[in-house]
Amino acid sequence: MTTETTAEVGAEAASARPMDLLRFATAGSVDDGKSTLIGRLLYDTRSLFTDQLAAVEAVSAARGDEYTNLALLTDGLRAEREQGITIDVAYRYFATPRRKFIIADTPGHIQYTRNMVTGASTADLALILVDARKGLVEQSRRHAFLCSLLRVPHLVLCVNKMDLVDWSREVYERIADEFTAFAAKLDVPDLTVVPVSALHGDNIVSRSEKMPWYEGPSLLHHLERVHIASDRNLVDVRFPVQYVIRPQSTTVTDYRGYAGQVASGVLKPDDEVMVLPSGFTSRIAAVETADGPVPEAFPPMSVTVRLTDEIDISRGDMICRPNNAPAVAQDIEAMVCWMDETRPLQLGGRYVIKHTTRSARAIVRGLHYRLDINSLHRDESAGELRLNEIGRVRFRTMVPLLVDEYRRNRTTGGFVVIDETTNRTVGAGMIVEAG
């Protein structure tokens, strides 16, 4: 690490110029090199602090590692270091002059799939790692499938450990082809493939000289430039009411504002709006923040909306447009990823569904099929979903939910399932259809 470049990167990152933010997650099977790749990315972009690096070097040396194990930079828990695997997501941050990045380094071990899902649910992009020696394994397919189910808009397949296969173009192409064929069966809008060596840094920050046959960009180059602005839904106005602001004050009287974060669409003063589930219509009087009114609000802004009419609105209601509204539904069809090891999802099971700012009791009315991750075959005879299993489920809720298809809206289409007896989050649902 040279000090001049450090200062350069630092100075750039310090400029107050607004930068956009890319959230990305790692995925792939255990030991395929996810944490090492993140460590390498942080190291080569000079995002590491000397004390962090010194601590990792000391631990590595004490354990007799032949080289500094960069995976220790994200594997920060005692148990992770003892077992040499990632157990839960680690969030790391870095910036280049072009972008700010939030990284979720997730575990590959099947037992911790729910933590991978946690990290991938908010990602704009997922890096799927595959060990070049092993090729695609079940867990690579599972993670790729989960990324497509979660509709992570951009995927990057990193064929890793190229150093161990002699930088072979043939190995790379075979894995790339196999993955591309698998991805074609999924819903993957954007796929990029890069051959890398996380350990040695090839094609991570700069192009590798070891693989002249590869003509694409380095991983960082891609991360800095991938176009994410149009991933957002700016068409369908969806504003889940989070909290009603009613000051009890002598200076501010008769104030009533609906606070929330814009899920999708653009809200402007004077727009005609409809409030669900009541169906009442009104107009937007003002869109406000603590700094004053704003001319419009769009995702991911947190604002307060005021309406021209006094109508009864509370948390869990949704502001939308009269001609473009979510379904008001009690029968929900969803793909569900089950995350509880103690009790499987079963027909007739009772849960709480948490969806946007609304929660509802729900009963499992149907389990249409369970998916086999490898073959994508649908097992229609399945009677339950166990830990890490994915299936299509029908719920009946006690009160209506205000829903869109997940493929159209990640915020109004996603929900979590909570077990009321343990209070644990036991499932993740992605709405396919509402009736």
Binding site: A7, A79, Y91, T118, I418, T425
Partner: protein
């Protein structure tokens, strides 16, 4: 429709929006939230965001200060000033009082980091707080990098890092039994540099010790400690004057200063951007105890 390029927010705006969302979620779903307020930069920013989240109404919860008895006077004064300005209710969980009552005993090394945990938990129990806002950031430390935005704590206030609740999208599960609680971290995704950029942008006043000033110090374990009623020079340690500032504000007996000429926000930003040492690495004696010091404290119920 206009081009999508027009509908972009800066990363600071995105972070602010996310934090405000978290603050509102907690208030909407939990019964008795409280905000941990130390007068440190992160809690200052968190309080600022709370003010924004509920404007024009007042902040709808009290603030809690875990007072180790080892304070920087500038920071205490700042705390009281902010509390008065915002008309907040301040709850003080006092370590000196807990020492006097026998709830805790002074540890052998005199550090109060570990013994403040039972004092915090006692206050939580006494006031039946079920949600505690903490200003912890994931970029601070490797155990914190692993924590959820809504972090479940059992009836002993303990964190179980191997068994955290899945947390998808922005659907936070705050359900709990009586006695259990949630720690909520609105600043999870902020970095030290983000905090300073935000302090600059919003023109937030911070305690004077965050800016360069002259102080009488000693050097201990490679760090500069202010000489005050809690830190006396030991044999062989020499007092000298240095131009310093604090990067973190914690217990005054184990928080060190860094050499600095940064006496304005802009200079602090430039300094933080160029520094190669983490804030806790540079200033915290308490984190140096062992590799997993923070994880162990968190398991016991620390913030």
């Amino acid at each position: 429709m206009t081009t999508t390029a027009a509908y972009q927010v800066s990363h600071l705006d995105a972070l602010e929006a996310e934090s405000i969302f978290v603050l509102r979620e907690v208030v909407a779903e939990m019964e008795r939230p409280v905000l941990l307020f130390s007068g440190g930069k992160d809690s200052i920013v968190m309080l600022w965001l709370a003010q924004k989240a509920f404007a024009p109404a007042n902040i709808p919860f009290p603030v809690l200060h875990v007072d180790t008895g080892h304070n920087f006077p500038e920071v205490l004064a700042y705390r009281d000033q902010r509390v008065a300005e915002l008309g907040l209710q301040l709850v003080v969980a006092s370590v000196p009082e807990a020492l006097a009552s026998g709830l805790v005993r002074e540890s052998a090394d005199g550090m109060r980091n570990r013994i403040q945990t039972p004092v915090l938990l006692a206050a939580v129990e006494q006031h039946r707080f079920d949600a505690l806002f903490g200003g912890a950031r994931r970029d601070e430390e490797k155990a914190r990098a692993k924590e959820r935005v809504f972090s479940f704590r059992d009836e002993f206030g303990q964190w179980d890092p191997k068994n955290q609740r899945p947390e998808l999208w922005s659907l936070y599960n705050g359900r709990h039994q009586p006695g259990e609680s949630i720690r909520a971290f609105p600043l999870s995704n902020w970095t030290e540099l983000d905090v300073w950029h935000y302090i600059a942008r919003e023109r937030i006043e911070a305690p004077s010790i965050y800016y360069a000033h002259e102080r009488e110090v000693i050097e201990r374990d490679g760090m500069l400690y202010a000489v005050n009623e809690f830190i006396r020079p030991r044999a062989g340690e020499e007092r000298f004057k240095a131009r310093v500032r604090y990067r973190t504000v914690g217990d005054a007996s184990c928080t060190a200063a860094v050499r600095s000429d940064a006496d304005t926000v802009a200079k602090v930003i430039a300094e933080v951007a160029a520094t190669r040492i983490t804030e806790r690495g540079a200033t915290r004696g308490d984190d140096r105890v062992s590799e997993a010091a923070m994880e162990d404290r968190k398991r016991e119920g620390y913030f």
